[in-house]
């Protein structure tokens, strides 16, 4: 699409509003008609409008990490069929993990939009199905154990639904009525997108709409370029690690990133993240590229919408295949979302030297969900449920404390499941749901607090947790301290066990009265904690975010018997700590 033709800025802005409204309405219709909590509350989906070449025009989130997966999936479908073999009334589908870059749960439907017989755009909808077959919980070591794989196919051919495919799906998933309910919701979203996009085209003319889309991309590119120019040229690197891959427990998985800034262009080189692993934490190359794009967007065009291709014009990504975030068949991918978050955090860590005012210290970087399954004693039916996402601590920034109890960077407008809802749906009792005092890393600006929950089983059930970042704790920046790591414990009656000290409790059977605890980490601090104003430390103590003992040990702040700041003792302690 040419971006050289001129189009008036008023029309561009009107079309921009129209595209945003289109994807927002697709999103709303998907959420309101979906059958599973992961779509409706966790917003594990993405909808979008794409050019006839598959480039992103507008994405409605959903899942911020899926910034890349949709466009790549549309392009793969285009390549597979060839433009000439895509017809009005078709709907294309796949859940191929190596195309979407994520796991098999992400069924992705794409509908071509035609006007006057010509293909002018696509609408696309990815959504997470609760079950796609495969091993129930536990560990997987290849893609075949993770469920049904649907290659690129036509779900609908010129208006005729492919019933063979529907029957195959229905036989291969554990909750077929839910899966097909979600499928219907996705088709609804596609129809909404098609209708609204055609309305824009009919009202303003195809040329005006297409030229406006090009202009919107140019605007995003200009914004990204101007926010890159003010980053000092140079090469910036950082390292971190994942605790393990869920199979080789306790064997760290190293991550190294390299960012090169030269004028208006940034190159993010992810060649030196670890090679793909045996365990189920791999993701495909589109996710590797998404890691770079998400970090880049956060640093250059964080509030520019719609998300579109223009924003990444001056980003180069070096991403060889065969890495944890560019894995190849038959690498297992079921828990694809965990490692990429730490890759993104590591990019921010690298950029601290260049742009300390724009980066953020490490965050808990994990969904912190527990998945449970069993037979519900109420209706004697099989259930699969999940608790969380817990939300956790976010890193501090120069000038701002970190935010507490908020979903990790993989997730966006993702809501947790309210206790009152979980207890109606599943045979569990939530005993505790609270902030974790002292979990936020110390700093001139303190890291946000993590969350702790304790869940008791009311009937026999199996729990899995695939939590990482227990040992690689959310780091501080600029002399800020690290936050607490994530943590999982299992309880047999009243006895807490150490069976899941690495965050991974796989296929643990619980009897009534048993339970499990999940704790999310706190955010890293920013700047020297001894420089945090004493009044703010006192306030943190009063509100219970920081204990008196941590205040003394980390911040050098001492309270007297009445709970007031002891100025003399504080000055003394701070001076001693600095020495």
């Amino acid at each position: 699409m040419s971006s050289t033709q001129s189009i008036d800025p008023v029309t561009v802005e009107i079309i921009r509003n129209g595209l945003l409204a289109t994807t927002e309405e697709m999103k709303a219709n998907l959420m309101r008609t979906a059958y599973n909590l992961i779509i409706y509350e966790a917003l594990d989906f993405t909808v979008g409008v794409f050019t006839a070449d598959g480039d992103t025009v507008s994405i409605g989130l959903g899942l911020p990490m899926f910034i890349r997966g949709m466009s790549e999936t549309v392009k793969a479908k285009l390549r597979h069929f060839g433009r000439e073999n895509i017809h009005p009334g078709d709907i294309l589908v796949t859940n191929d993990a190596y195309i979407t870059g994520s796991h098999l749960n992400h069924f992705t439907f794409t509908q071509p939009i035609f006007q006057g017989g010509e293909l002018i755009a696509f609408t696309c909808c990815m959504a997470h199905w609760q079950d796609v077959g495969g091993t129930m919980g536990g560990r997987t070591t290849d893609i075949y154990s993770e469920g049904l794989q649907v290659p690129i196919l036509k779900y609908r051919k010129q208006g005729m639904v492919n019933q063979d495919l529907v029957d195959i799906i229905a036989m291969n998933v554990r909750l077929p009525e839910r899966a097909l309910g979600d499928l219907r919701a996705q088709i609804t979203a596609l129809a909404t997108g098609e209708r609204r996009f055609l309305e824009l085209v009919e009202r303003y003319g195809r040329a005006a709409v297409l030229q406006s889309i090009a202009a919107i991309m140019d605007q995003s590119a200009a914004l990204a370029a101007s926010n890159t120019r003010n980053i000092p040229d140079g090469v910036y690197e950082a390292e971190s690690f994942m605790d393990d891959d869920g199979i080789e427990l306790g064997e760290p998985v190293p991550i190294h990133v390299r960012v090169e800034v030269r004028g208006e262009e940034i190159t993010i080189d992810l060649s030196n993240v670890a090679g793909q692993v045996r365990g189920f934490y791999n993701s495909g190359i589109t996710t590797g590229i998404a890691c770079a794009q998400v970090a880049f967007k956060c640093l250059t065009t964080p509030t520019d919408y719609p998300v579109n291709e223009g924003a990444f014009r001056n980003l180069r990504v070096v991403m060889p295949t065969g890495r944890i975030i560019s894995a190849e068949r038959p690498a297992p991918m079921r828990w694809w979302m965990t490692f990429p978050m730490t890759v993104i955090d590591t990019i921010f860590k690298a950029m601290e030297k260049a742009i300390p005012d724009r980066v953020i210290a490490g965050h808990h970087a994990d969904l912190c969900v527990g998945t449970i399954h069993g037979i519900n004693p109420g209706d004697r039916r099989f259930f699969i449920g999940f608790t969380g996402p817990l939300g956790g601590g976010w890193g501090a920034k120069r000038g701002e404390d970190g935010v507490s109890a908020t979903v990790c960077i993989n997730d966006g407008d993702t809501h947790n499941g309210p206790t009152e809802q979980l207890e109606v749906k599943y045979p569990i009792l939530v005993e505790r749901f609270a902030l974790r005092p002292d979990s936020g890393g110390g700093g001139t600006w303190r890291g946000g607090l993590g969350v702790e929950t304790v869940i008791r089983a009311l009937s026999p059930m199996t729990v899995d947790t695939y939590v990482d970042r227990v040992h690689c704790k959310p780091w501080g920046l600029d002399a800020g301290k690290e936050g607490a790591g994530n943590d999982v414990r299992i309880r047999r009656k009243d006895q807490w066990l150490d069976t899941a000290t690495n965050g991974k409790a796989t296929s643990v059977r619980l009897q009534p009265g048993d339970g499990f605890m999940m704790r999310s980490g706190g955010g890293g601090g920013f700047g020297d904690p001894l420089l945090r104003p004493v009044t703010q430390v006192a306030e943190d103590i009063a509100e219970g975010y920081v204990s008196a003992s941590a205040a003394a040990a980390v911040y050098g702040v001492v309270l007297d018997a009445e709970g007031r700041v002891d100025e003399v003792a504080t000055a003394h302690l701070r001076a001693a700590a600095k020495a």
Binding site: P9, G18, A34, R184, C298, G391, P418, V424, R432, L435
Partner: protein
């Protein structure tokens, strides 16, 4: 669907035994952000009276008295006083409420602070989440626990509650909110905590969650009850002072407050459930639109209100405004939810004061930042340097610099032009008129999204709706918005600038109840459901019959939130009582399937459905003012109505000489062809080329929108 439950004597007013003078007035006062508006109806003469004064946020009662006096009416002559105010929303947004504590189930102290853990501003590392109204140090845990079925898992530790009461007193707490898990299912623990607090701390403002909401979701209920407690002392005190004031003025009638549903409740209930008056003004506007549509026999309408900073749209379907179960206070990213029934109103940040600005890459954006009243639009001459929607209207000739607010304020055309030139036109290489026109186009599209949000996005065909337009800035943009959406008919009511107060005169007494009830439709026990509905209806009827005024009739309407088994989100389905009497599962299911099809374009008749919540609305019908009629004219405006002509810009014609009419001089039956402007005190109606306007017998401007020439 409404079914009369009782019929009582159709009599308004009550006997006081000591009536000195005929109490013939109904006075409605709406305190808005900028203005306090009054509408009064004189039963003796059939006359409608209006008043307007600047809101005095530091002295609200005085502001009301000023407005009353300015309108030439007196409380002593009134038998009914209806009131709505922004005091609740302002107290929440400005954080000026009481020092509030939250008592919550043990183990769940941080529910309110943690919230739903979502992060809408997904790529912004400098995101923020909601800031609770209660500090963590004032959140206290109560040892008790109910199970999801309402059974007691752990009994309430009453001694601990008494000790907590002492702690609250020592901490200088002014209001207490109580949220116990599963109280929507079993309110006994919450009720007992309230009793103990009342014994221990008489006079303290205590609010318990099940009074306001009996729907599951603990964070939303916590936020609702905290908001109520937070505003409670201030609002209760304000309402008490207002009661005292009107009594001193000789008022002996009934005093009702408008709720966010547009329904009325007595002031003594408003003092307890303060948060229900959150959106009283906007809701009353929709009630006004409903009243006008009833007179004209229009079942389907959009109620569109545009002011200085926002535009709001509500919708009336089959003569009933759509309501919703909750609202978010503040911007979405940091919103505090309030889970009480509300008029379903969609708001966008576009108003007369919205600023037009270029962002990086020369993208032209209009709003949501508003110039407000200080500094205001550039043309106000109070130091504003950025062009706004109002400046654009001035440059295009739609506002008269010498007759703004009836000439009370002069507008500075030069300032508007230079702001437009420097900030927008020159950088985009446009001339100022093209820039102004572009800004209005963008603003109109943004506002059209609000209208679409309540119509097309709900499966309703906006094109067959009439758009009733009010608010100071609404009539100026109504024609353009209607064209954008394909709406063919626009009504500008009499006194569009006083419309919320006017709407209050048409409100009914109303009580809404919701109970969570998770049951599969296929095997639901109708006796159980019937008992829940009857209990809610009985509560509503009792509340209404206890009020000072005997309503004409009490109606009960039933609805249920339903979904397909396994789905998360529910839709509210109106269900006639007869379906329950007949235990007609099939008909209930069909209604749900049909609504799902309309709203989302799909339904699954073969899939089982379930109930989530039962909703009951009790309405006590009030006597309404009869339609206000306007004197009949000769079919075309009097020469006295033509104030003059000036150059006004329309996209189809460019600048063209356009007649300016005075609304006050128009008569019923008068007809005007666009282009034209119709001016009144606080508003100007723009009639585009191709539009035709007819003044109806009630004085509304009834506009047939011409074909789109954009």
């Amino acid at each position: 669907m409404q079914t009369p439950l009782t019929h009582e004597a159709d009599g308004v007013g009550r006997s006081t035994g000591a009536v000195q003078r005929p109490r013939r007035l109904r006075i409605a006062v709406d305190i808005g952000g900028t203005f306090t508006d009054l509408a009064a109806f004189d039963e003796a003469t059939g006359q409608l009276l209006f008043g307007k004064a600047l809101s005095t946020h530091d002295a609200l009662v005085r502001g009301i008295q000023d407005t009353v006096e300015r309108a030439g009416v007196a409380f002593a002559d009134a038998q009914l006083f209806l009131h709505g105010s922004t005091i609740v929303i302002n107290t929440l947004l400005e954080r000026t409420g009481a020092r509030t504590a939250l008592l919550i189930t043990e183990g769940f102290r941080d529910v309110y602070e943690i919230g739903r853990v979502n992060r809408p501003d997904a790529y912004n590392l400098f995101f923020n989440k909601h800031a609770p109204l209660v500090k963590r140090s004032l959140c206290f845990e109560v040892p008790e626990r109910l199970r999801a079925d309402g059974g007691v898992h752990r009994p309430l530790d009453e001694a601990k509650v008494r000790r907590l009461a002492q702690e609250l007193a020592s901490r200088g707490v002014e209001a207490v909110a109580v949220l116990l898990l599963h109280s929507y299912r079993n309110p006994r623990h919450e009720a007992r905590v309230r009793e103990i607090l009342r014994e221990e701390l008489p006079g303290l403002f205590v609010s318990v969650s099940h009074d306001l909401s009996q729907e599951y979701r603990e964070f939303e209920r916590a936020s609702t009850v905290a908001a109520n407690a937070y505003v409670g002392p201030l609002v209760a005190d304000y309402l008490a002072r207002l009661e005292q004031h009107v009594a001193q003025q000789g008022f002996v009638g009934a005093f009702y407050v408008v709720q966010s549903t547009g329904g009325l409740f007595p002031v003594q209930h408003a003092r307890r459930d303060c948060v229900r008056m959150l959106e009283s003004g906007p809701a009353a506007g929709v009630i006004g639109a409903q009243a006008i549509c009833a007179e004209l026999d229009l079942p389907d309408a959009i109620a569109f209100d545009m002011g200085g900073t926002t535009a709001k749209a509500g919708v009336i379907v089959d003569s009933v405004p759509l309501t919703t179960g909750s609202a978010l206070i503040g911007g979405y990213e940091r919103a505090l939810p309030v889970q009480v029934p509300m008029m379903d109103i969609f708001e966008v940040g576009t108003g007369g004061g919205s600023i037009a600005r270029l962002s990086e890459g020369n993208a032209l954006r209009v709003g949501p930042k508003s110039a407000g009243s200080t500094p205001g639009p550039a043309c106000y001459g109070r130091g504003g340097t950025e062009p706004t929607v109002t400046d654009a209207n001035l440059l295009l000739g739609r506002l008269d610099p010498d007759h703004f607010l009836g000439g009370a304020m002069r507008l500075d055309l030069t300032a508007a032009r230079s702001a437009m030139q420097e900030r927008v036109a020159a950088p985009l290489e446009l001339d100022p008129v093209a820039a102004a026109d572009g800004i209005l186009r963008i603003a109109v599209v943004a506002m059209s999204h609000a209208v679409k949000a309540v119509t097309t996005e709900r499966g309703l065909d906006a094109g067959r709706f009439t758009m009733v337009t009010y608010g100071g800035a609404g009539p100026m943009h109504a024609s353009a918005i209607a064209r954008e959406i394909g709406i063919r008919r626009v009504l500008i009511p009499f006194a569009p600038g006083h419309f919320s107060a006017y709407g209050m005169l048409f409100s009914d007494l109303r009580y809404d109840y919701v109970r969570s009830c998770f049951r599969k439709l296929a095997d639901v026990d109708f006796a159980e459901v019937e008992a829940m509905y009857r209990e809610m209806a009985a509560e509503g009827r009792e509340a209404i019959t206890q009020s000072a005024i005997k309503p004409g009739a009490v109606l009960e309407a039933r609805a249920a939130d339903m979904r397909y088994v396994g789905q998360e989100h529910a839709v509210t389905v109106e269900l006639p009582t007869a379906l329950f009497a007949a235990q007609d599962r099939t008909a209930i299911k069909q209604r749900f399937d049909a609504l799902h099809e309309v709203r989302y374009g799909t339904c699954a008749p073969a899939e089982p459905a379930e109930l989530v919540s039962l909703r009951s609305t009790s309405t006590g019908l009030m006597r309404k003012p009869p339609g206000r009629t306007t004197e009949h004219g000769r079919g075309e405006p009097d020469t006295a109505a033509l104030r003059g002509r000036r150059q006004v810009y329309f996209r189809a014609t460019g600048f063209a000489e356009t007649p300016i009419y005075l609304r006050a001089a128009l008569r019923a039956g008068d007809s005007i062809a666009g282009p034209a402007l119709i001016e009144e005190h606080a508003s100007t109606t723009v009639l585009a080329p191709g539009d035709t306007l007819r003044v109806d017998r009630f004085g509304n401007l009834d506009i047939a929108i011409g074909s789109d020439q954009a």
